[in-house]
Structures are given as C-alpha cells and as structure tokens.
C-alpha cells in the first residue's frame, strides 16, 4: 500500500528526516513510535505531500507521489488526521463532515450516518460549531472527517494524545473497527501501550532516523529500545 524509501525532509533549512524508510501493507495497522520532536508528524506530512521530501521516494499503491498535490493524493485514497485536529471551528460538526464528502450522496463506504454510528457523541452535537467541541470530541470529528473522504489508507497522528483513559480505550476500539472494516492505518504514537494494543508491527523513530522495527511482541519485550527511545 505504502512504501517510503530513504526520504530526507526539511523545513526550510532545517533537516528533519534522515533516510527514513517504512512500508505499510494493505490491511495492516502499523505504528510509528517516538518521543516529542522525533519526526512522526514530519513523516506524515511528507507522505501526504504537505512537506514533500527533498530526497528519496514515496510510493502509494505502487505509484510515486512526488509532485502530486495533497488534494490528488487524498483522491487516490490517503487521509490525514493531524495531531492538532484542525477542525474548522466556524463550521458545524455536520458541515465539517459534509464538505469532506466527495459527492453529496456519497456512494462509497462512509457517509455521515456511518460516522455517527462509530462516534455517537458527534450525532448529538451535529449542529454545534466545531470550535465548541471538547478536545476528545474534536479528535473524533477529525477522524470522522477523514473517513468521509472514503480513504483506503489513513494517517493518524497521535489520536489519543491528551485524552482521558476511558476515551483512549474508546479510540483504540474505533481504530480496531477501522481495521476490521479493511482500512490500512499508519499510527503515530508516543504511548507505547496503546500503540501496541492496536498495531501489527511498529517502527521506532528518533531524531529523524528510523532506529528499530519489529513486530508488536518484540517491541513490547525489548526493554532496551523502550528505555532508549520511548517514554515508559
């Protein structure tokens, strides 16, 4: 589904990613673990074409994405849920979902009704302004909005950050539901416990370098990697 090969990404003059490579196969949930400032968001922005890498290649469904604008990548099936949510605050919950739908009577899998099924809280607040939702509700709305584009592959950037334990559990369940529905997920996380609960395998990123990659079980057992690159 996704193949990132040896990319280098910069913000202006600052060199952030160094030779990052990773693969995500169809139907997998893969996590990208790393502490603050490790380069998780930058990796996701590179994949979405928002901060294109200067070197290396990214292939989505076998096709190179270099030079393809983000809106076209979205139409090819990539969705991005940014860590800071970026809900359209002035639009209602319903409008936030509505504008993401490619056509009004959405023929694909996802529509408003199905998003409301996944996140019942959003249904009650559908005519509330996006800016008036709580942080957790905004996270759900950001995921719902991404789903409305009917993606095959979704980039989830720290969806559980700052949420209460109960909500973390809820989001974990929802990610598992997405997986069951056939979506492929790349999940950026600092919280190793949550990440491992939902993923098949993971990469550990630090200082813009991929340091380690392994199955969930190996990651969980490798105390050294956990101590060195992650908060425990």
């Amino acid at each position: 589904m996704l193949e990132v090969a040896d990319i280098d990404t910069y913000y202006g003059l600052s060199h952030i990613l160094f030779g990052v490579s990773l693969r995500v196969e169809r139907g997998e949930v893969v996590c990208l673990l790393g502490r603050n400032g490790a380069g998780k968001t930058t990796t996701m922005r590179s994949i979405m074409g928002l901060t294109p890498p200067r070197r290396g290649t990214i292939r989505f469904k076998g096709k190179p994405t270099a030079g393809v604008e983000p809106y076209l990548l979205a139409r090819q099936g990539i969705a991005y849920v940014p860590d800071n949510r970026r809900i359209f605050a002035e639009l209602t919950v319903g409008e936030n979902l509505e504008i993401a739908a490619r056509d009004a009577n959405q023929k694909g899998e996802w529509n408003q009704a199905r998003v409301f099924e996944l996140f019942p809280v959003l249904k009650e607040k559908r005519s509330r302004k996006g800016g008036h939702l709580s942080g957790g509700e905004q996270k759900m709305l950001a995921i719902g909005r991404a789903l409305m584009t009917n993606p095959d592959f979704i980039l989830l950037d720290e969806p559980m950050e700052g949420l209460a334990p109960l909500l973390v559990r809820a989001i974990e369940d929802q990610i598992l539901q997405l997986k069951a529905a056939g979506l492929t997920v790349l999940l950026a996380e600092q919280n190793i416990n949550s990440a491992l609960r939902v993923s098949n395998r993971g990469y550990v990123i630090d200082d813009g370098h991929i340091r380690y990659t392994a199955s969930v079980k190996e990651l969980w057992e490798n105390q050294e990697v956990r101590n060195k690159y992650l908060l425990v």
Binding site: L50, E69, Y71, A74, F88, A89, E90, L91, E95, I99
Partner: protein
C-alpha cells in the same frame, strides 16, 4: 428643519449605503477567503459601470436595456476577474501580503489604462428605466424610485450571500478554506478552484455595484478611487471577511454621510471618516468578528 427633507436625505443615504455594501461585500469576501486585499476592486466596479453604459447605449431605446445591462455587466466583470485570477493571482497566493497588495495595485493601474483606452476620458451617463425614474411623493416627502429599488436589492444581495455561505457546498468550503486552506486540500478538495470561484464572486459584486451606480452618477475615470477607499474603510470597521460587518459598515458610512450633509454641509465629507476613526479607536479589529 424640514422633517420631510431629513427623511428623504436619510433615504438617499441608505440607498447609497446599499451600493457601498454590495461592492464592499465583494471586497470582504475575497479578503476573507483568499486573504487578498484586492486594490483593483474599485477598477472592477468602474468597469461594471462603463460596461453597463455601453450595453444601455447599444440597446438604445429598448426598455429592457437597463435590466440587461444589470445582468450582463457583472458577468463581464466576473469574466475579467476569472482571467486575472487564473492568469496572475493564482500563482501568487504563497507570497506575503505586501507583495499581494503591490500586485493588485499593479492590476489596478493596468485595468484603469484599459478603461481609458476603451472608453476614453469623457463623462458618461445611463438613464434609469421609466419605472425607476423620478420620484413619488408621500405627503410632501419625495422618494426617488431608484432609491427604493436599491433599498430592496441591497437586502436581497445580503440574503443571497448568506445563503451562498451557509447553504451551498461552495460556501461551506470557502468558510473552511478561509481559516485552513491546507486542511481543505487534505480532504481532496482542489482549493485552487475554490479560490477562483470566490474571486469571481467578489468581482461579480463589484460589477453589480458598478452597474447599479451607473444611473445615479456620472461615469468617469477616477470613480474607482473614492469607492476603493470607502470600501476598505467599510470592511475594516465591519471586521475583515465578515459580510454582515460590511453591511453595518456601509450603513454607518452612508447614513453618516447624509447626516453630515444635513447638519454641516460644508464638512459633510468628514463625517464618515470621523465615524471610522471612532469605531477603530473603540474596536480596532472591527465591529464584528474578523476571520483574520
């Protein structure tokens, strides 16, 4: 003071405010969605007025001439706007505001030269159609028919813009793009065309304002200067990007102008500016919420 004179003057002020609103609404829409302060907006208004003149003249005695001009002139201006946006502006959105201001200033100079080339420097005028000509009287209170027409049209345009922003997909996307265009793109929407549409709508309103003002004034080169200054002040006191703000700003501007004429005719021109200063001292970001 004669109360009927006061009333008619106020009415004329309100009617003028409607034209100011229509033009300012276009300016503020473009400011809100594209974040471009379009200095050439006044020139587009002027092109609207001249085009209305030409259409009315070509159609000569045809009683529908004015109405056709009212529809076609804004479309002509919108077409000019589309060319400007696709040809120039769309390549410049990433630039800083100062550059955008300079670019639109350049566009203004070019458009003004084109107007001079096409229509010359003479004064032109358009006669309103019969049913809008003259005035009718209520007691000894004379009401110009054309003012009534403007007072009906202004709120209709406001309503139309509200419907556009809140009930159409384009409007909702525009509101979203105004605050976070990158995220709108991430949803698979081609923001570039949204911007083109928003710019064209802004131009349509400038053209409509120009066509509407045509029967009330002499059409000439230079008519863009006053309107662009007034409109920038109106959208600033109203709150940048806020359509209702443009309406309130335009009403304050139009009414204070007539009140000035009434009480201190020799200083009338100062009144609206004094209001602007007071508003900005009290609320530097404008009366209503700015999207900036």
């Amino acid at each position: 003071m004669d109360p009927s004179a006061v009333a008619s003057l106020l009415l004329v002020g309100l009617a003028r405010a409607m034209i100011l609103f229509i033009v300012a609404a276009g300016l503020t829409f473009v400011l809100g969605v594209l974040r471009v302060p379009n200095i050439a907006h006044g020139s587009l208004y002027m092109i609207g007025a001249f085009t209305a003149f030409t259409i009315a003249e070509v159609l000569g005695k045809n009683p529908a001439g004015f109405w056709i001009a009212l529809v076609v002139a804004p479309l002509v201006v919108a077409a000019v706007g589309l060319i400007i946006e696709r040809g120039l502006l769309s390549h410049l959105y990433q630039r800083e505001h100062l550059m955008l201001i300079l670019f639109t200033f350049g566009i203004m100079l070019i458009l003004n030269d084109m107007v001079k080339f096409v229509w010359g420097a003479d004064y032109r005028s358009v006669t309103p159609p019969e049913i809008l000509d003259g005035s009718f009287t209520l007691g000894d209170f004379a009401i110009p028919r054309y003012s009534i027409f403007l007072l009906i049209l202004g709120p209709l345009v406001a309503l139309g813009l509200w419907l556009l922003s809140n009930k159409t997909r384009l409007g909702k996307i525009s509101r979203a793009a105004a605050v976070d265009r990158e995220m709108v793109g991430v949803l698979g929407i081609n923001v570039s065309w949204v911007f083109a549409a928003a710019f064209v709508i802004g131009c349509l309103l400038a053209g409509l304002g120009g066509a509407l003002v045509a029967p009330t004034t002499s059409i000439s080169l230079g008519m863009d200067h006053t309107i662009i200054i007034e409109c920038f002040l109106i959208v600033t006191i109203g709150g940048l990007g806020n359509t209702w703000g443009a309406l309130i700003g335009a009403l304050l501007f139009g009414v204070s102008q007539s009140l000035g004429l009434l009480f201190l005719p020799q200083y009338a021109i100062v009144f609206p500016y004094a209001i602007v200063v007071i508003v900005l001292l009290l609320r530097p970001r404008g009366l209503l919420r700015s999207v900036w």
